[in-house]
């Protein structure tokens, strides 16, 4: 057993690196409490190291922490596979972008004294996400989900002097605890049904004839509540707009990309590992006929995107609007999973990469403008195109990409999604998604209209972003435009990362 544990440690180097740097940050914060401006750079260094370790793992497929008993069929606590590595890489890149984001954000600069705790909690989130992405045991899934949630509850309420922030945090923690309680009850029923907490064992046991279908479906739905809350799918999305509005902007951007990505990775692994009986040659998954995941996912995704898009129409606060838009995007991504094929999975991977770039970019511009004006109201964007030409163009490109119009990468992401849908003969669903995209055009273009066509009533000085911000935006903009035209590399990369450690 000890050999197995020592052997497994070689497969969790990224997680170990994150844990070590979490402790380093806490210690540095304690020892050098006078001067905290180095802390962001320490956390950047840690993330770069983690990123390199994750890159080293790409292509490896292996079980880690295999219990002694599993002689007949191999399974472990954690599963290292290309799919997991892709999502880990996505989380690490997002985190690096967010650390740069916080360096420019005034809200975070104002924290001064609490910078150490801020970064330690971000590391707590990263650790939770990395473990969650490759966890294949319900105990580990529950714990990592809670690690991610607890850190994000605190981060959402970090600006405790601002009333909105702590209230957002309370709402977040109540919704979060209830849904994780429901998920726990679901887990306990699954454990009772199968006598195991490992997804691979559960998979082989629920293929047996004597399983009670109704009970299993119910516990699957309870499990989905916990995950659906993390990805803010429709009936469990109520917390999203308020938390996104109340939290610091950098954390909002982080929640909307990274923690959503980890939630989706968990959902895909849960369905693929727990419920798929085999994968056909052309990449379609055949699920064990115990629970109709496809119907549930299609219903939830249509509900999610419709609710998200229509609620976004009336929002005057840009942060809130982007929150609803991120709910709608979760709906599109869920459709990619609902196809239940490798092609759909490729679409999801591409979508997440593009979504990361455009969503963080949009939030970054909003943050720069709110640094200057102190609010995120849409009226503050009047005449922005003239006052801050570069920011205006950048935001316009991000929003066009979020809508999914060519020649941006957002178009490619949606294109692959729709191709996957049509290949699977889900024409009606594809049409609904397309109509939703048209609706979303309205509220994205509304911002553009405010920026370029409405004259500002107030006199405002020009907003000139710093060199650092210019570089940051260019780093996000160039891939969006580049992959919008030449998208083979990202598609190829996603294709190579699509395999999960098999059934």
């Amino acid at each position: 057993m000890i050999n197995e544990i020592l052997n497994s440690i070689t497969f969790i180097y990224p997680e170990l690196a994150v844990s070590i740097f979490l402790l380093i940050i806490v210690l540095v914060d304690l020892v050098f409490h006078k001067d905290k401006k180095y802390i962001p750079y320490i956390s950047l260094a840690g993330l770069v190291i983690t990123g390199i370790l994750v890159l080293n793992q790409i292509g490896i497929t292996h079980f880690a922490f295999v219990p002694q008993l599993s002689a007949v069929k191999k399974y472990g606590m954690m599963t290292i596979d290309p799919f997991g590595s892709y999502f880990k890489l996505l989380v690490v890149v997002t985190s690096i972008l967010i650390i740069f984001f916080t360096i420019a954000s005034e809200e975070v600069i104002d924290l001064k004294e609490r910078l150490g705790e801020f970064h330690a909690l971000i590391y707590g989130m990263i650790l939770g996400m990395l473990v969650m992405i490759s966890a294949s045991d319900l105990i580990l899934i529950y714990l990592s989900l809670e690690l991610l949630s607890l850190s994000s509850y605190v981060l959402a309420g970090f600006l405790k002097l601002r009333e909105r922030s702590s209230e957002a945090s309370l709402k977040y923690v109540i919704y979060g605890s209830v849904s994780s309680g429901l998920m726990l009850f679901g887990i306990s029923i699954i454990y009772g049904l199968t006598g195991s907490t490992n997804l691979y064992v559960i998979n082989s046991l629920i293929q047996g004839p004597q399983i009670n279908l109704f009970t299993l479906s119910f516990s699957s739905i309870l499990m989905f509540v916990g995950i659906g809350y993390k990805i803010s799918a429709a009936p469990f999305h109520f917390w999203t707009p308020d938390v996104y509005e109340g939290a610091p902007i950098s954390i909002t951007a982080y929640l909307s990309v990274a923690s959503k990505a980890a939630g989706f990775a968990l959902l895909i692994r849960f369905i693929q590992t727990g419920f798929t009986s085999f994968i056909s040659e052309d990449g379609y998954w055949t699920l064990i006929a115990v629970f109709d995941w496809q119907a549930l996912l299609i219903a939830i995704s249509i509900l999610t995107m419709t609710l998200g898009n229509f609620s976004a129409l009336w929002q005057d606060n840009l942060k809130r609007m982007l929150a609803y838009s991120s709910i709608a995007h979760a709906g599109y991504i869920l459709l990619g999973i609902a196809v239940l094929s490798n092609q759909g999975l490729i679409a999801v991977l591409i979508y997440f990469f593009v979504y990361m770039l455009m969503n963080i970019g949009a939030f970054y511009v909003v943050m720069l403008i709110s640094n200057k004006t102190g609010s995120e109201n849409i009226d503050d964007y009047d005449g922005l195109g003239a006052k801050a030409p570069f920011l205006g163009v950048a935001l316009a490109i991000f929003l066009i990409s979020l809508t999914g119009l060519p020649p941006t990468a957002g178009f490619i992401a949606k294109l692959y999604l729709f191709i996957a849908l049509i290949d699977a003969n889900m024409i009606v669903v594809a049409i609904i998604a397309l109509l939703n995209t048209v609706v979303s055009l309205y509220y994205y273009v509304r911002v553009l209209k405010h920026m370029y066509l409405t004259k500002s009533e107030r006199e405002q000085e020009n907003i000139t972003p710093s060199i650092g911000s210019l570089v940051y935006l260019l780093v996000l903009l160039i891939p969006i435009l580049f992959f919008g035209i030449y998208f083979t590399p990202i598609v190829e990369f996603a294709r190579s990362c699509v395999s999960l450690l098999g059934i």
Binding site: M1, L22, E117, L121, L140, L147, G195, I211, N212, S219
Partner: protein, 171 residues
């Protein structure tokens, strides 16, 4: 054997009654005390289930630590009872009862059929063995060593978070 049934009946009844009392008492302090009683009854049920270690931890951690924290915060904040609200919103009461019955019927039905598919042990030795601190300790440090470490970081994160949020001033 008959003693087992009597104990189960008493403990089960206490658990059921205190849980209902907990959500219906308007005073938060009373709710907290009923919850502590409920946890004691659960510890008794765990003993009946041969889970000695969990029973002890239930009393020490839940009743001894978590509920003391709750009571401490309740005393600190000195919040009013919800008497007025519960009286004002009679509708809320009926909605509450309705939801409770609905959820209970659903879950009760489901739970009744969720008996383990096979391998329900008839061996009392195995069941007792599963609850021993030795077995749990071995499992914790071999098979479940990774979740164990993760829970350590969970507590670290929660500590940092709680201090950040509850500390009054940083300057």
């Amino acid at each position: 054997m008959i003693l087992e049934y009597i104990l189960f009946a008493i403990l089960g009844l206490v658990a059921v009654v205190t849980s209902v009392a907990m959500i219906t008492r308007p005073s938060p302090v009373m709710s907290a005390i009923f919850l502590v009683l409920n946890f004691f009854a659960l510890a008794g049920l765990y003993l009946l289930l041969n889970a000695q270690f969990i029973a002890v931890v239930q009393v020490i951690v839940y009743a001894g630590a978590i509920m003391v924290l709750f009571l401490f915060v309740l005393m600190l904040l000195n919040t009013d009872s919800e008497h007025a609200i519960l009286k004002e919103k009679r509708k809320l009461k009926f909605i509450g009862i309705f939801i409770a019955v609905l959820v209970f019927i659903q879950i009760g039905y489901i739970v009744f059929y969720s008996a383990p598919s096979d391998s329900v042990t008839k061996e009392i030795a195995e069941s007792i063995n599963a609850g021993k601190i030795e077995t749990i300790g071995t499992e914790l440090y071999t098979t479940y060593v990774l979740p164990f470490l993760a829970s350590g970081f969970l507590l670290l994160g929660a500590t940092i978070g709680a201090i950040v949020l509850a500390m009054k001033k940083f300057e």
